[in-house]
């Protein structure tokens, strides 16, 4: 018997499954935050979630709208200052996974959250780097979750806000004290991983009911598929229930204020 679920739910559940209880995760806002909290509420109850506002080991009951909602501070083990967060906890090497979203991603998993077009005359101005540039290099590894589309998955990003493996796939080579970089990208269509040699993103698993052509059409470069292409396991009834509850609780909370 098959359950009904949306592609967004498939993405959140798959992203959540990437986390385990022994990880210390620096969480980006939006999709990563949803996935990280779903992990905490299902299979990874002891995962340590850290947000850049300084909240260490937080356990929010609803998803925060901003990176510094009161909920994060009140449910945290402790809250530290922003320089302490970036200097001691992140740069100091205490973060195992940085979990990031993005506006654009390219074949070498470089992320662009700065702008579309030319820097001095942008077509679209985006928010900018925030914590991501240093999360991506100082965390031991990076997970990325983003919806799959041709606008998002481009051959070369317009601007490297946050390095994946650089314009040539070699940006991390011989750099001391740098993390492994992106190890997995989870979209609403598939799972991608960097090729061990070239670092180019390769599809390793298709979500149920997604075809190769769906991914090809939603990707802005000639996407490669792994020789052994898996099918991502469907969400369980339990995961869907927890996710839907979390989202309903969050919507009610944010709408109910004032």
């Amino acid at each position: 018997m098959s359950l009904e679920f949306t592609s967004s739910e498939m993405m959140s559940v798959t992203a959540a499954r990437a986390l385990t209880s022994d990880m210390t995760c620096f969480v980006g806002i939006g999709l990563p935050s949803e996935a990280a909290n779903l992990a905490r509420l299902t299979h990874a109850p002891d995962v340590t979630l850290i947000y850049e506002s300084g909240t260490l080991q937080t356990k929010p009951d609803v998803l925060p709208l901003s990176i510094g909602d009161g909920e994060l501070c009140e449910s945290a083990l402790t809250t530290v200052s922003v320089p302490e967060m970036f200097r001691y906890w992140l740069q100091g090497g205490h973060i195992s996974v940085g979990f990031l979203g993005t506006a654009q991603i390219d074949r070498y998993a470089n992320l662009n959250t700065t702008l579309i077009g030319d820097y001095r005359e942008p077509k679209v101005r985006l928010p900018g780097g925030g914590g991501a540039p240093e999360i991506a290099t100082n965390a031991k590894e990076v997970f990325i979750t983003v919806k799959h589309s041709k606008r998002t998955f481009v051959k070369d990003v317009d601007f490297v806000t946050t390095v994946g493996f650089g314009r040539d796939g070699k940006a991390r080579d011989n750099v001391p004290n740098i993390g492994r970089g992106p190890t997995v990208v989870i979209t609403d269509l598939c799972i991608l991983k960097p090729d061990p040699d070239t670092k180019e993103l390769v599809v390793t698993s298709l979500h149920p009911n997604v075809t190769r052509d769906d991914v090809i059409e939603a990707t802005g470069w000639e996407i490669r598929f792994a020789d052994q292409l898996d099918t991502t396991p469907e969400p369980t009834a339990h995961e869907l229930e927890i996710l839907r509850d979390l989202k309903a609780r969050t919507n009610a909370h944010h709408a109910g204020q004032q």
Binding site: I67, G68, V82, R87, R125, G129, G130, T137, R172
Partner: protein, 271 residues
Amino acid sequence: MAEFLSLQEAVSRHISNGDTVCMEGFTHLIPFAAGHEIIRQEKRDLTLIRMTPDLVYDQMIGAGCAKKLIFSWGGNPGVGSLHRLRDAVEKGWPNKLEILEHSHAAMACAYEAGAAGLPFAVLRGYVGSDLPKVNDQIKFIECPFTGERLAAVPSVRPDVVVIHAQRADRKGNVLIEGIVGIQKEVVLAAKRSIVTVEEIVDDLDAGVNACVLPSWAVTAIAEAPKGASPSYALGYYERDNAFYKEWDGIARDRETFQTWLKDNVFEKGAA
């Protein structure tokens, strides 16, 4: 010792046209009441510094207070763009806005270096990023001990800083609780500081390791209840997330924004 002033007096006396002004509060305790007073007093040509410009700088930029913005993440958190900021950057309305952008880690380090009286900050940052190509304030240096290549940015030492805090006692000592962000560093980095507070109390009731700014480290204190709304003050009121969402519609259009500004800022007096 900190001087108790009305918000109007504090802004009028300590902020001048052309100043470098830093209004901090990392998603929490954002000094909106002070921002509105700066708009009402029609301060101009300010260089605004803030890690996350948020709605407060969107409003000040749209009102024409700023000539330059130094920041590291310029969005409406969880909602989308800051439309007034974008209009200024993309179309030069109401005036051209020069921008200089960093990452959070670099700005946090730059504030800390400012507080420490150092000329620059050093961090393991900006590796592989294009940001150093568009910001000439990001340089790389070699560690004199290990040879490691590290990023360097100038410290932030603003003319005046404005922050909001939960409370001050009658001597002018200030308590900040919850997400303390960068507030202590930025006050110590600045030449002058204005702290708005929810209330003035007899006893701060601070724990021994609490984040307290002594009166002699602060220039002026102004009482401004709900002075951080629509952001929040832990222990006083919650973040008005509904307004953050509503702002997207208000700020998208120049006319709607100007009407909002007239009704909610210019026709309201200082707290």
